[in-house]
């Protein structure tokens, strides 16, 4: 007899159709798996009731593999074959790894990603991570009683493309279908945003085992907007352990220890750190294999002192993220603490001091990310309907738009829009009889195309020849849940269509995105001026061309003096159009408009006379109605 869960009203799944989906927090130190049951996100425990799986993999002499606590127990006696904190090596070359000389592994440099030599052969970080994922997969399938449809795996916001790809590869190797990679702070926000129904601007301070992330989010009506992110991909609780380790060597006057002793000392360092969360001092006693003994007491004062630089290293990115968001510390309504390392009192104190408020920590900081990922997985697997109010999946880091006349950027989808999203805008032709339109897709915040990043170009051909401004070209930007952008241009009268698909984030690193954002703020004033000037220029150019066409067609409606006046105004405009003075340009444009007013009126009369010639009164009434309706539509 199957065990059933309670569904939302009207959403009972048909038998065998409830899709089992989980969220996985693949952490540097510990990993967790969570799922949504009867509408509640819950972390899944192992047989012993433990939620956290240490992210440790050991390759045994008999060819088998141990993951988690069993593996962790052998950290000290089998350091070379027991891989900890493998997340730090994901998608990284040997030169990227801090303190690689202090680690007990035999690294092997390989193109793209470092490898570790173990007794089971040379292992890539992807393979090691896959073992952790397999273990979580087994736990989830046992707990849910079936095969998983898909998973959401969280990654630090700062993971670059290589690191994200490596994570996806590990999941594939573990036989998991990745519904999506989700940024850890976003997952934490999902967990908090729903459970607490908060609104306002929040900071997510995530100090995990190996990474530090700060994200500034705005929560409103259940929708999150990411205002800015920052962090340090090589800073975490492990570094605090390392400081204690170094202090122990010094305090106990130990000579450089063997790999095995080093591991045991690191273990004690971590225990001492955790002990100090609730105590004022932690005694450390240990007899090393070398015969030396460690007998020291780590006090809160010493711990705070030796880790002060690490703590302030987390505050720097916080300041920067706030600056990027254009906010001050007192604009933040709440600070969400994520990651086990945020339990350290000196971290809580430093964060409280900087934001001048006590940080929020009512959800277990070790579990929030997994819980948020589980909610996302449940949604993506299709177990919920789309009327839920927290549909945030991800956001577009930089605005997407296209180039318009004069090299200006027209933003179609603004930055921080949640995806998936589709936006359309209508454009028209610039010249009479124009039959093709070049669509240049760009990404960036700047007003001029030259300052943005070019993503793709394509052409819409076969537009029926019409007067400038008559064709209606609908350009649709669509970004799917994986961040893939497709742009379609369609002339609505003739139905001709053309499209292109691009991946906007491709090749754009977080650093580049940050730089581009900073540029846009620094240049906002210049850009606005240039934009206004360019717009006036485009308008002037259009006016000149329209006037020339009119003169060519209907010159007979003007007497010599009138013609002279228009020609002069035209020449004057052609002269100032290159200048930088927008006011002069606008005034000259107005002058030309004034000079041609009478001419335009006569042309209008003439065309009406032509149109009416030989028609019945009823026909005229009908067509007038049609014209009015047409205008209303616009």
């Amino acid at each position: 007899m199957a065990l059933l869960q309670i569904a939302e009203p009207g959403q009972s799944a048909a038998p065998h159709e409830h899709k089992l989906a989980v969220g996985i927090d693949l952490g540097t130190t510990n990993s967790l798996v969570a799922t949504v049951r009867s509408g509640m996100a819950k972390v899944l425990n192992d047989e012993q009731g433990r939620s956290m799986l240490p992210s440790v993999v050991r390759y045994l002499p008999d060819g088998s593999i141990e993951v988690g606590r069993e593996a962790q127990r052998h950290q000290a006696d089998d350091p070379r074959n027991t891989i900890v904190s493998v997340k730090r090596f994901m998608g990284r070359g040997l030169q990227d790894i801090a303190h690689s000389e202090a680690l007990p592994y035999e690294f092997e440099s390989a193109p793209g990603m470092v490898r570790v030599r173990t007794r089971a052969g040379v292992k890539s970080p992807v393979e090691v991570s896959a073992e952790i994922l397999k273990s979580l997969k087994g736990r989830a399938e046992a707990a849910l009683g079936g095969d998983l449809v898909g998973v959401v795996i969280t990654v630090p916001a700062y993971f670059d493309d290589a690191q994200r790809q490596a994570t996806k590869d590990a999941a594939k190797l573990a036989g998991l279908n990745v519904l999506r990679l989700l940024n850890e702070p976003t997952a934490a926000a999902i967990a908090y945003g729903l459970d607490n129904k908060s609104e306002g601007v929040f900071a997510i301070y995530d100090l995990g085992g190996g990474t530090f992330d700060i994200s500034i989010l705005r929560l409103a009506k259940g929708v999150f907007e990411v205002l800015s992110t920052g962090g340090d991909s090589a800073l975490g609780g492990d570094d605090f352990d390392h400081r204690i380790y170094c202090w122990m060597l010094e305090a106990a006057k130990i000579s450089p220890p063997s790999a095995e002793d080093a591991r045991r000392l690191m273990e004690r360092a971590r225990e001492a750190k955790e002990y100090l969360t609730t105590h004022d001092n932690a005694p450390i006693n240990l007899r090393l294999k070398s015969g030396e003994t460690v007998d020291v007491v780590l006090t809160t004062e010493i711990f705070t002192e030796i880790t002060q630089t690490l703590v302030s290293k987390t505050i720097q990115p916080v300041k920067k993220a706030l600056r990027d968001a254009g906010l001050r510390p007192d604009d933040i309504q709440g600070v969400v603490m994520v990651g086990g390392a945020t339990r350290m009192p000196q971290i809580q104190r430093a964060v409280a001091e900087y934001f001048k408020q006590e940080p929020l920590n009512n959800l277990d900081p070790d579990k929030v990310v997994a819980l948020g990922a589980a909610k996302q997985a449940d949604l993506l697997a299709g177990n919920r309907t789309s009327d839920d109010d927290w549909l945030l999946l991800d956001v577009i880091p930089l605005s997407l738009g296209l180039e318009t006349m004069g090299g200006l950027t027209e933003k179609i989808i603004p930055r921080n829009s949640t995806i998936p999203i589709a936006r359309a805008q209508e454009f028209t032709t610039f010249k009479d009889g124009q039959t093709a339109l070049a669509v240049h897709v760009v990404q960036g915040e700047r007003e001029l195309v030259a300052d943005c990043r070019s993503l793709a170009r394509f052409e819409l051909r076969g537009i029926p020849p019409m007067v400038a401004g008559a064709p209606r070209i609908r350009v649709t930007f669509q970004v799917d849940a994986d961040g893939l952008l497709s742009v379609t241009a369609r002339e609505t009268i003739s139905g001709v269509e053309s499209s292109v698909t691009v991946k906007p984030s491709y090749g754009l690193s977080d650093d580049e995105i940050t730089t581009m954002l900073q540029d846009s703020m620094a240049h906002a004033k210049d850009d606005a001026f240039l934009r206004a000037l360019t717009e006036s220029r485009v308008e002037a150019q259009r006016l000149i061309e329209a006037t020339q066409v009119a003169l060519h067609e209907d010159a007979h409606l003007l007497d010599a003096a009138e013609r002279e006046k228009i020609d002069q105004a035209l020449a004057k405009l052609a002269e100032v159009i290159q200048g930088d003075n927008r006011r002069t340009l606008n005034m000259t444009m107005d002058a030309l408009v004034d000079a041609t007013n009478e001419f335009a009126a006569r042309r209008m009369d003439q065309s009406i006379r032509r149109a009416l010639a030989g028609k019945k009164v009823t026909e005229v009434a009908d067509s007038a109605l049609g014209a009015a309706a047409g205008e209303e539509k616009q």
């Binding site: 059933l4 309670i6 009203p9 038998p15 899944l44 707990a143 009683g145």
Partner: protein, 107 residues
Amino acid sequence: MAITLTESAAKHVTGFLTKRGKGVGLRLGVRTSGCSGMAYKLEFVDELGDEDQVFESHGVKVVIDPKSLPYLDGTELDYAKEGLNEGFKFNNPNVKDECGCGESFKV
């Protein structure tokens, strides 16, 4: 005619409803589908229908539509743990046969 919850089931339902923050009770029902003909429905209730029958068991309102009632009369809903898995279980005296997984049944 009666539907009951075990104490454990009632405790879990109350807990889920509290966490959810809204809802007046638990809806039980059946519908035709699945490999053995009928399938159970287990949902939160936000609004009662005109024809709904309401039972009360251990402080939980159990809501059933009149069409489902004959198939569920006498059912006891339990909350069970099997290994790592846990969830609700229908102990339904009307069932003659069910599919291997128990997600659908015949009367």
